[in-house]
Symmetry: none
Subunit: 64 residues, 2 copies
DNA sequence: TGATACTAGGGTAATTCGGGTA
DNA sequence: AGTGTCCGAATTACCCTAGTAT
């Protein structure tokens, strides 16, 4: 029942940027350097996996 | 729409949109530009082949 | 037959892309 | 080395009303 009308496993560049408090362009650079492995819309825009982003967030708070 | 429990070889615009984290209208644009080849219901609504959509999803996460 | 959710279509904002720069 | 910003072009998101799907 309603298996995800509001939830998505993918995040937009702006959403990732808000989580890290950086500019979306910086998120793009992380992707280009291989630190993130996003998929692409058919128009070429990046979509990031929530699971991957949250894992990196957790790791970054461990080592502080 | 019961998209979580019932399997179908055809996907609605909303289902495709959720997979790519885009607006359903964007999926329509992909169809109009030839990036997707949907069927049409007798009333004119588009239905997308799951096989085609999943193939494009897989390709989008490859590195190139 | 009615009720509700979704889609088509068109228009107009808002994001994102890529490159270059500070 | 890592970010933030400016730019133009391209892509995507949100607004509406009428018609379709279930």
């Amino acid at each position: 029942m309603d298996s995800g009308t509001t939830y998505s496993a993918l995040l937009t560049p702006a959403e990732v940027a808000r989580l890290f408090r950086v500019d979306p362009k910086t998120v793009t650079r992380w992707a280009m350097s291989g630190k993130l492995s996003p998929l692409r819309t058919l128009g070429g825009h990046r979509r990031y996996r929530r699971e991957e982003v949250e894992r990196l967030l957790a790791e970054s708070s461990e080592q502080h």
